[in-house]
C-alpha cells in the first residue's frame, strides 16, 4: 500500500542536505509520495529504509509472467474487486491441459489443433494462451517426452504439472529455454520444488487446502528465494471457488496482505459434478489469473474468449466501431440506407436487428466519438453536418440507386436540417429503439420498395 509523505519522511535521513535537489527531506518525501521523484536521488538513504519503501510501493498482487519464445502470459497486478471501479488489467491466461499419457501422436494432434486456433471478435484475433502439461503417468522420462512433444507442436507458454520434485525436474529440463509455471509445491515438497523453480528462474504455484496453510507456505517459499508465486487454493466447486478467490483478492487489495498477494491458478474441471465451461466463466469474472481447461472445443472456447474480452474491457474506454459503410445481408442498390453512431453497443443492437430481420441494408456508421445516439446528439457529435459528411465520405451515394436515408427516431429533430445538408435526399425517420427496426423495415421500406 502506498505510504504517505510523512511516513516516507520518517524513513529518510532528515538532514536536509539538499543533494536530492529538494530543499528539505520532507519536500523530497512529498514528491516521492506523489510519484514525482525517484528514491535513488537521495544518496544517504539506508538499506533498510530502501527495502521498506520498495515493499510499500510493490503492487498488492504481484505480476507473474509465464513465457516461451517471446510470447508471454502475465497475471496479477490487479487493483480493484469490481471492474467498474477502474478496470481489470491482465486477462487470465487460458491453458489447455495435455496429459503425458496421451502418447506422442495424441499430443501432437491435440496441441497442433489448439495452437493454430484463432477466432476473430470485432477485429481482434483471440486464441488459447498455452498448454498445461500434466505428468499423469508419474514418470519423469514420460513427462519429459510429453513436454518435448508439446514444444514440437507449439511455441506457446507452458504450465508444468507434476506430483513430485523428481518428475518436475525432468519436465523442467525438457522445457529449458522457456519460463514455465511449475505446478505445484505443497506442504510436503516445497523446499525441493522451490529449489527447482529458483534454478530454472520459473514461477512456482503453491497449493494448500486452507488459506492459513497457503499463506504460511508462500512466506517460506519467498524466504527460500522464489518471488514469482501463483496460488492454487484447491477450491473446485462453484461456491467455494467464488468464496476463496474473492477472499484472496480482498485480502490482497484491502489488507495489503502480502502472503496472498499473488495471482491464482484455477482448474474448472477438477471438481465433481461441475460444468467446466460454466465454472471457467466464473473464474474469468471472479479473479483467476490462469485457467486450465481440459477440453479444447471451439464451441466453448469462443464464448469464453469473448467473455474474457468483455469483462476485461476498460469501462472508461468503451469499444468503438470503425466508422464507415457496413453491408448487412448482402445489400443491393435498392436496399435501404440507415445511419447510426459508432458506439459499439448501438452498432451491435442495430446490426443485430437488421441482420435478424433478413432485410438487406446498408448501415452507415458515423464517427460520433463512440457515443450512443442521444448522448452524441446532445454533445454535438451526431448532427446534420457529420451525417452528411459520412454519407459523402463513405461513397454511400454511389452504392444505391435511391436517395433515402433512415435516421434514428431519437434524433428525428435533425431531419429538416439534414434535408438541407443533403440536397435532393428524402430523410426517413426510423424507430427510436433498435428492436422496432424489423417491423419498421417491413412496413415503411417494404411499402416504398413495393416488394417483399
Amino acid at each position: 500500500m502506498a505510504l504517505t509523505g510523512l511516513q516516507i519522511y520518517k524513513l529518510l535521513p532528515q538532514t536536509n542536505c539538499k543533494e536530492c535537489g529538494h530543499p528539505t527531506c520532507l519536500a523530497f518525501a512529498m514528491k516521492l509520495a506523489a510519484k514525482q521523484a525517484e528514491l535513488a536521488l537521495c544518496p544517504y538513504v539506508t538499506e533498510s529504509a530502501k527495502a521498506q519503501l520498495d515493499a510499500a510501493s510493490a503492487p498488492p498482487i504481484r505480476l507473474v509472467a509465464v513465457s516461451c519464445n517471446g510470447s508471454k502470459v502475465e497475471a496479477g497486478n490487479e487493483t480493484v474487486l469490481f471492474r467498474h471501479e477502474k478496470t481489470f488489467y491482465h486477462k487470465p491466461g487460458l491453458f489447455i491441459r495435455v496429459e503425458d499419457t496421451l502418447g506422442a501422436e495424441g499430443i501432437k494432434t491435440k496441441v497442433s489443433e489448439a495452437d493454430s486456433y484463432l477466432v476473430d471478435y470485432v477485429g481482434i484475433k483471440l486464441g488459447v494462451d498455452g498448454f498445461a502439461v500434466e505428468a499423469v503417468s508419474g514418470d519423469g522420462a514420460k513427462f519429459a517426452e510429453a513436454v518435448g512433444a508439446v514444444r514440437a507442436a507449439s511455441k506457446k507458454p507452458l504450465i508444468l504439472i507434476a506430483p513430485t520434485p523428481e518428475v518436475m525436474a525432468e519436465g523442467v529440463k525438457a522445457a529449458s529455454g522457456t519460463q514455465p509455471l511449475l505446478c505445484a509445491a505443497d506442504e510436503s515438497n516445497w523446499q525441493k520444488m522451490a529449489e527447482i523453480a529458483k534454478s530454472a528462474k520459473a514461477p512456482l504455484a503453491v497449493k494448500a487446502e486452507s488459506l492459513d496453510k497457503l499463506a504460511g507456505l508462500t512466506e517460506e517459499i519467498k524466504k527460500a528465494g522464489v518471488e514469482d508465486i501463483v496460488l492454487d487454493p484447491l477450491a473446485y466447486g462453484y461456491g467455494d471457488s467464488l468464496k476463496t478467490l474473492t477472499q484472496i483478492r480482498r485480502l490482497a487489495l484491502k489488507k495489503n496482505f502480502r502472503a496472498l498477494g499473488y495471482p491464482i491458478i484455477a482448474f474448472p474441471s477438477n471438481g465433481a459434478g461441475v460444468d467446466e465451461t460454466v465454472l471457467a466463466a466464473q473464474h474469468i469474472a471472479k479473479y483467476a489469473g490462469f485457467i486450465v481447461l481440459n477440453t479444447f472445443d471451439p464451441a466453448t472456447l469462443y464464448p469464453l474468449l469473448v467473455l474474457r474480452q468483455n469483462i476485461y474491457t476498460d469501462p472508461q474506454k468503451p469499444i468503438q466501431v470503425q466508422p464507415g459503410l457496413y453491408e448487412i445481408n448482402s445489400p443491393t442498390a435498392d436496399s435501404p440506407l440507415m445511419v447510426t453512431t459508432n458506439f459499439s453497443i448501438t452498432y451491435f443492437a442495430v446490426n443485430n436487428e437488421v441482420e435478424g430481420s433478413g432485410w438487406p441494408a446498408w448501415l452507415l456508421v458515423a464517427d460520433a466519438e463512440g457515443m450512443s445516439v442521444l448522448t452524441a446528439w446532445a454533445a454535438g457529435k451526431f448532427d446534420a453536418d457529420r451525417i452528411a459528411k459520412a454519407v459523402k465520405s463513405t461513397g454511400a451515394e454511389g452504392k444505391i440507386n435511391h436517395k433515402r436515408l433512415i435516421l434514428p427516431g431519437q434524433v428525428a429533430v435533425l431531419s429538416g436540417e439534414l434535408e438541407e445538408s443533403l440536397a435532393g435526399w428524402e430523410i426517413m425517420v426510423g424507430p427510436k429503439e433498435a428492436v422496432d427496426i424489423p417491423n419498421y423495415l417491413k412496413v415503411m421500406w417494404g411499402e416504398k420498395a413495393g416488394s417483399r
Partner: protein, 323 residues
C-alpha cells in the same frame, strides 16, 4: 508454518427487498407454490458476509403463440408444445423452471392484431396448465401493452403476477392496474444506474409498495454489451447493500431473449468455422450470459432453452450451498 489469516468481512448497511411472485389459494390465488426473489444481505453467493434466503429464480419465456423468427434450436427443443402456450408452460415446468414468463405478441397466429379477449384467454389457459407463478409481459409497444395488460391484470386478479414492461415512457397504466388487482410490476430501464433508480421512484410515487417492484436494468448478450449490463448490476447491488433504498429491488434480466437474437446462437450456417459446433456454442452463449449475470446480482433470469435451464440450475445449486 501456517499463518492465521483473518478474512476481511463486509458489514453491509442494507439488503435487497423480497418480492413474492404468485399466490396460493390461502392468499387468494390458484398457484401451487410461490417464488420469493431478493432478500440478500450480501453480494452474490458470498454467504460468509450475510444471508441469502432465496436462490435466483430461473424463468422460461413462453409466447402466447408460436413465434415467427426464433432460432431453429429453440423450436427443436420445445417441439409441438410451442403451438400451444399451455403445453409450452407445462413443458417448461417439467424442465425445471421456477417461473413462467408469458410474452404477448403483437399479432395472433392468423396475423390479426392481438386482442384483450385473446390475451385474457391465453393467460387463463396458462394459469390452468401450470402451478408455477406467472409473469405476463406485453409486446413492448406502449399502446398495445396497455390495451392487453389491463384486461389480463383484471382477469388474473389475486394471482400476484409480475406485470410488464414498465418503461419511463409507459408505466402509469400498468402500475395502476397492478395496484388495483394485487400484482407486481417489472420496471425496465436501459443499462444505467440512475435511470433504474428513477423509475423505481416514479412507480413508488404512484403508491406502489416497494415490495412489489422488480427492476430490469437491461443487459446485452455475451459479445453484445454484456459488460455494461454486468457492471450496472454490480453497481446497483453495491448501492443496495450500502443502504441506498431505491436500488434495493430484486433484479430480473432476460439473457434468453438477448442471446437468441445474436448470430452466434441463432444461426448455424454462414458463420466462421472457428465458432465451433452450433448447438453447443448456442447453448453456451445463453448459459454463460445468464451465469455471468447471476454472478453480478440477478435475482431472476429469463431463459429460452431447456438445456440452459438445466445447466444454470446446477450452477445455482452449487452456489447456494453455504460456502
Amino acid at each position: 508454518m501456517p499463518i492465521t489469516v483473518e478474512i476481511p468481512k463486509e458489514k453491509w448497511a442494507g439488503k435487497v427487498r423480497e418480492v413474492v411472485l404468485g399466490a396460493t389459494a390461502a392468499d387468494g390465488g390458484t398457484r401451487a407454490k410461490t417464488v420469493v426473489v431478493g432478500g440478500e444481505a450480501t453480494l452474490p453467493f458470498l454467504h460468509f458476509d450475510g444471508a441469502i434466503p432465496h436462490p435466483p429464480a430461473l424463468a422460461i419465456e413462453v409466447r402466447d403463440r408460436r413465434p415467427d423468427d426464433w432460432s431453429p434450436l429453440v423450436y427443436e427443443a420445445w417441439g409441438e408444445a410451442m403451438n400451444d402456450p399451455a403445453e409450452w408452460a407445462k413443458a417448461a415446468e417439467k424442465a425445471g423452471a421456477d417461473l413462467i414468463v408469458l410474452t404477448l405478441s403483437l399479432t395472433t397466429a392468423d396475423r390479426k392484431p392481438n386482442t384483450p379477449e385473446n390475451a385474457k384467454a391465453v393467460v387463463r389457459k396458462v394459469l390452468n396448465a401450470t402451478g408455477l407463478p406467472l409473469a405476463v409481459f406485453g409486446p413492448g409497444q406502449a399502446e398495445k401493452d396497455n390495451e392487453l395488460i389491463v384486461p389480463v391484470a383484471e382477469e388474473a386478479k389475486g394471482e400476484k403476477l409480475l406485470l410488464g414492461v414498465c418503461e419511463d415512457k409507459n408505466y402509469r397504466t400498468i402500475v395502476a392496474t397492478a395496484m388495483a388487482n394485487g400484482h407486481n410490476v417489472s420496471s425496465k430501464t436501459p443499462m444505467d444506474v440512475n435511470l433504474a433508480k428513477q423509475l423505481v421512484i416514479l412507480i413508488h410515487d404512484m403508491g406502489m409498495p416497494l415490495d412489489r417492484i422488480i427492476m430490469d436494468p437491461t443487459t446485452g448478450a455475451l459479445a453484445y454489451g454484456i459488460e455494461y449490463g454486468y457492471s450496472v448490476m454490480e453497481r446497483l447491488r453495491l448501492a443496495a447493500l450500502q443502504g441506498d433504498s431505491m436500488t434495493q429491488q430484486p433484479m430480473i434480466v432476460t439473457p434468453g431473449e438477448e442471446t437468441w437474437k445474436a448470430k452466434e446462437s441463432k444461426v448455424g450456417e454462414g458463420v466462421p468455422e472457428t465458432w465451433g459446433d452450433w448447438k453447443r456454442r448456442a447453448i453456451n452463449w445463453e448459459t454463460l450470459t445468464a451465469a455471468s449475470l447471476i454472478h453480478a446480482g440477478a435475482d431472476a433470469v429469463v431463459l429460452r432453452h431447456p438445456e440452459t435451464l438445466a445447466r444454470v440450475k446446477a450452477m445455482v445449486n452449487g452456489l447456494m450451498s453455504a460456502n
